[in-house]
């Protein structure tokens, strides 16, 4: 490396002390992106609310029918409500990120002294905030349609929501890695990944309902343990703590792997020019 007479001896900014500020900037940027965007507001609040109204009435109507019909209605409603926690995190994170690719704002962000870790924390925190707001609204709708829903599940609800959001975070990183590699043309990756994940998450059925290899794969999906726990608890069984520990461990593993994948994708994207082609 050749020596330069212009080598800077004192940098203008302190790197690490500004890390929190950069995360705040990214967090606000991704919150602003939805603030006045009618399409995103509809995606976040209106469609999930319609789903809950529809299946909430279905579950409520089961109360006057045989016990099995009522149970089926409750299973569907539970699945819809809780699956939102995972799927929306993935879809929201990808939508936010893709918006930046379309506008080329991603170039400005990546030229700034932002690390990939800070970017991911900003994206995730903003997505989780939006989902939290969305869940409060949807919880209000649900309390109106099917008042006994949360009271039967109790305080455990919060822990399950937390676990399912962790799964969402893990798989959103995998989706973001795909967007970094292929750009805005794979903006659908959030939907694809969340839909495939739903099959293995046992949202509406038991693990035994999946044939052979699919059942085996489901053991590697953390959300499958959470939904099994929720269903067991609804049937009056004790909480399956082993399953929840496995779910947490798997989520932590996937988050770590996802983080590595995003970093690898970024390195590769700089080689193939995905960021500049956006």
């Amino acid at each position: 490396m050749m020596a330069s007479p212009y080598k800077i001896t004192k940098l203008t900014h302190t790197m690490h002390s500004n890390s929190l500020r950069r995360i705040r900037g990214l967090y606000l940027h991704y919150l602003y992106s939805v603030k006045r965007n009618p399409a995103r507001i509809i995606e976040m609040f209106v469609w999930p609310a319609f789903e809950i109204i529809l299946f909430g009435f279905l579950a409520a109507s089961g109360k006057n029918k045989p016990a099995e019909a009522e149970a089926m209605g409750v299973i569907i409603l539970t699945g819809i409500v809780y699956w939102n926690c995972t799927a929306r995190v993935i879809q929201e994170a990808v939508a936010q990120f893709t918006d930046d690719f379309v506008s080329k704002n991603i170039q400005g962000i990546l030229v700034a002294p932002v690390t990939m870790g800070e970017l991911l924390i900003g994206v995730t925190a903003a997505a989780l905030t939006k989902i939290a707001i969305s869940l409060v609204v949807l919880g209000g709708v649900l309390a109106f349609i099917y008042p006994s829903f949360f009271s039967t599940l109790g305080i455990h609800t919060l822990f399950w929501i937390f676990q399912l959001e962790l799964v969402g975070v893990a798989f959103s990183y995998i989706s973001l890695a795909i967007v970094l590699l292929f750009g805005e043309r794979v903006s659908f990756s959030g939907w694809i990944i969340s839909t495939i994940l739903q099959i293995f998450s046992l949202v509406f059925y038991e693990r035994t309902a999946l044939p052979g290899i699919l059942s085996t794969i489901s053991y590697a999906v953390p959300s499958s343990y959470v939904f099994e726990t929720i269903r067991a608890y609804q049937h009056g069984d004790p909480l399956i703590t082993t399953g929840q520990i496995i779910a947490l461990a798997l989520s932590a593993t996937y988050i770590t792997m996802g983080f590595g994948l995003v970093n690898a994708s970024f390195v590769f994207a700089k080689k193939i020019g995905t960021i500049i082609k956006s």
Binding site: L11, T12, H13, R22, L28, N105, V114
Partner: protein
């Protein structure tokens, strides 16, 4: 301030830059010209770290770009007329965001000073990005690029959509940066613009530097574009 040694870059099997070497001193304003597809934007993308070269060495402010990207990034900035900030957010919200990314404390004073000089009304701060005209959008991007008072500023066709008066003022701002020994590197298809403010002109043709020297006149440019 900028050292490039034998930079090569191919994209999609096509050679974009071939053995580009360049040395830029503090205080220089470098204008990059060349026909469409000559590799101008690719060169800036490589210098900003958005693109990695296939081979070659890049040193900015004495630090290797490959290993000191974050340190360098605090002291450089980039703006392009084709870029749009967060569409549904206001100009103010976007600039606040970028001020956070660069750790700029006196963001408001940077904006006030620049906008007053360029005679841009502060009401623009409250306009949503998607409602901006192309010229306004370019100016907002230019403002963003000055938030951290960068030692090296990269501009890609930044005045392309601006009216002549605003263009003049923006060019004056770029020229003033020279006094603080800062470097500005700008791509422009407007040769008069390069002649007007640049201390040095580089012409790229098919990924190679075919001219590097004092800005030349419009009528002499054809030799290097062909």
């Amino acid at each position: 301030m900028i050292e490039l040694i034998n930079i090569n870059k191919s994209l999609g099997g096509k050679r974009i830059l071939s053995n580009v070497s360049l040395s830029v001193r503090g205080g220089e304003i470098v204008g990059i010209a060349g026909s469409v597809g000559a590799g101008k934007s690719t060169l800036l993308h490589i210098l900003t770290g958005l693109l990695e070269p296939d081979s070659g060495e890049i040193t900015l402010m004495g630090l290797p770009l490959k290993t000191s990207r974050q340190h360098i990034a605090s002291n450089i900035n980039y703006a392009s007329s084709s870029q749009r900030l967060g569409g549904y957010a206001s100009v103010r919200e976007n600039l606040t965001t970028y001020a956070d990314l660069y750790g700029t404390i006196k963001f408001r004073s940077v904006v006030t000073k620049l906008w007053r000089f360029c005679r841009i009304p502060e009401s623009l701060l409250f306009k949503k990005i998607f409602r901006l005209s192309s010229g306004e959008n370019s100016f907002v991007n230019f403002t963003k690029a000055l938030l951290n008072n960068p030692r090296i500023l990269f501009l890609d066709e930044i005045t392309a959509h601006m009216d002549p008066l605003l263009t003049q003022r923006v060019l004056t701002v770029i020229r003033k940066r020279k006094k603080s020994n800062n470097v500005s590197m700008l791509i422009s298809q407007n040769i008069d613009e390069i002649r007007h403010i640049c201390t040095r002109m580089i012409i790229l043709r098919q990924g190679k530097i075919v001219y590097d020297g004092k800005p030349i006149q419009n009528n002499k440019i054809n030799t290097y574009y062909a």
